[in-house]
Symmetry: C2
Subunit: 361 residues, 2 copies
């Protein structure tokens, strides 16, 4: 077992087995004499790594064959632009649901390219809930509807999938929920996210997009931002982030060894429940999110007395629990408990929280 | 010593010391208990890695303080678009020198954004030389002049720096010559390249840009493609490719231990000379490039009888010399001998070439 529990919101903890394998193979991948970092992306060794990573991802998520899986760069932030560029298809407006900081960033960027209709927002109550679908004001002519499946800062997660209205495709930023729970891909037009939370190192962005939504970027689009150019070249329009794809592939294999996404979801539910159950028994700590909309991945909480924040963090550090400080826009604490966080880490955190409460409560 | 010599054109060989250090630190960077892949990019550990990498790069290249160093994503191919987007500054045309495949790609992409004036081209002789500057037809109103410092496919390198005409900034794609020889950065407006040849893993793109050229992207530019947004955020507009930056930093430290860029250049000259000297003594192999314009990094050569190509490659493979097959557009062989290729690798190659010639000549 490793010595620390890393609660970072991203880049985030990776499975120990994956890191050990990456270390073992660093100078010589499978007897090739090369590090994966040194391999030509057109050579048979790397091509096999790339193809296997895609095949495993398809298997884990049950991705239908009429969807492309693109391994790109630039993070979700570049997708915030690429999505309107590629998906407007001559339309002038898109629907966005605003549930927090990442929704806001996506909205701000989309406004560079089209009219944005805020179909719903939870800003009225400081982004502590997901607006009920009955209250959404959707535009039947929208090019797509965009939502963020999990707000890493606010700790608010969609525990349901919005309905599709007419032929308006659903687009979801799943950066922080990728492979943390089963997803019915066929309900979406496009799913995307950065890898650096549940999948692997920063620098890899994965886009899963229905084929009919590809090929509509307007003239004058930078070639790298055109899904068609990327899809036609199997994500090798230029050199892909090969090492990041390799590590992601090791993570996919790790998930398969854990029993797949359904088994991972069960563990994630168990971990989240352990922490929320404790939070619900005390007034000393507080999570502000509506119960049904609580994130399984990012659990923000505040101490009753924020003057104790520093002492809490110092004590956590002494117990080898890292990166618990909350985002500056929310304050307090945040425990990110992604796929690779073992339940022992959550137990250690709850034990410490209990002890700290006893001491200072 | 490692068992193989990897002549890949990129991603390419990395220093063995760097790979060993990366393997050793994979599970626990400097006692932090974390892999660098797992670190929050806003945490003090990663921030120190990032800052040190930039400082070392600045020191190695002697980058003046009025230049920004940006750690980006998307490769040179995304820069082919970002450069006109950011550097046109209201102008409508840019000058490009066409010395081969990578020049052509940059030109094709630039045409999406502006008029391209081909100031010079070596296409007339199959891209086997650099056109003499006296023959260039430059536009004094060009937004910038772009050239590719080294064509990795053709094996043609600028062994001199073009003059600056008026206030037209020089822009150079140095993907395959980064840190292989001293560069007088002050002569350029912008220098850029992918990391995956001389610097580190694929997925990191480095842009060195004079400050007065920043801040001119037109309205409607995707934020990630705006140098100003990246510069204002110290390349952390979103999560940077942290692990790639870390490995690049290890490579920078390795170069410093070798004695810096001047010492590296001396070794590179020695390696290139060893190979070209042999090529010049035989009719069995042939390098088509004008002597003064030969690349120090990528040495393409053909066999007199191309029917022997497969036998040559097979024999090389048996002697643990990898990735010697030439680019499909040129045929024959290509030996890429970047910074991290030890002279022993070039000696082994020349010995083998000599032996093969004796056997089949």
């Amino acid at each position: 077992m490793r010595k620390v529990f890393n609660f970072s919101a991203g880049p985030a903890v990776l499975p120990e087995e994956v890191l050990r394998q990456a270390a073992d193979e660093m100078l010589d991948w499978h007897g090739s004499g090369q590090s994966v970092m040194e391999m030509s992306h057109r050579g048979k060794e790397y091509m096999s790594i790339h193809a296997q990573a895609e095949a495993d991802m398809r298997e884990l998520m049950g991705i239908p064959s009429n969807y492309k899986v693109l391994f790109l760069q630039g993070g979700a932030t570049l997708q915030f632009a690429q999505i309107p560029i590629n998906l407007l298809r001559g339309k002038t407006s898109a629907d966005y649901v605003n549930t927090g900081e990442w929704s806001k960033k996506a909205i701000k960027e989309a406004k560079l390219f089209c009219k944005v209709n805020i179909a719903a927002s939870s800003e009225d109550r400081s982004f502590t809930y997901v607006p009920a679908q009955g209250d959404w004001k959707r535009d039947p002519d929208a090019a797509y509807l965009h939502f963020c499946s999990n707000e890493t800062i606010g700790g608010v997660e969609f525990n349901w999938v919005p309905d599709t209205v007419g032929d308006v495709p659903l687009v979801a930023d799943v950066s922080s929920t990728f492979l943390s729970r089963p997803v019915d891909v066929a309900r979406y037009g496009l799913i995307y996210g950065g890898a650096q939370k549940n999948i692997g190192p920063a620098g890899l962005t994965i886009v899963i997009v229905r084929e009919d939504l590809i090929g509509h970027a307007p003239a004058g689009t930078p070639t790298m931002l055109d899904y068609k150019a990327q899809a036609d070249n199997d994500s090798m329009l230029n050199t892909p982030p090969t090492y990041a794809v390799y590590v992601a592939g090791l993570v996919f294999q790790w998930i398969k060894r854990q029993g797949g996404v359904a088994a991972i979801e069960k563990r994630n539910l168990e971990k989240a429940q352990l922490l929320y159950d404790y939070l619900d028994t005390t007034e000393f700590y507080r999570n502000p999110v509506t119960r049904a909309d609580r994130s399984r991945m990012n659990v923000p909480f505040t101490l009753k007395d924020s003057a104790l924040d520093d002492a809490f963090l110092k004590g956590a550090q002494q117990r080898s629990m890292l990166q618990l400080k909350g985002h500056r826009s929310v304050g307090g604490m945040r425990a990110s408990i992604y796929n690779a966080m073992p339940i022992e880490g959550v137990r250690a955190l709850v034990d410490y929280m209990r002890e700290f409460e006893k001491q200072h409560g």
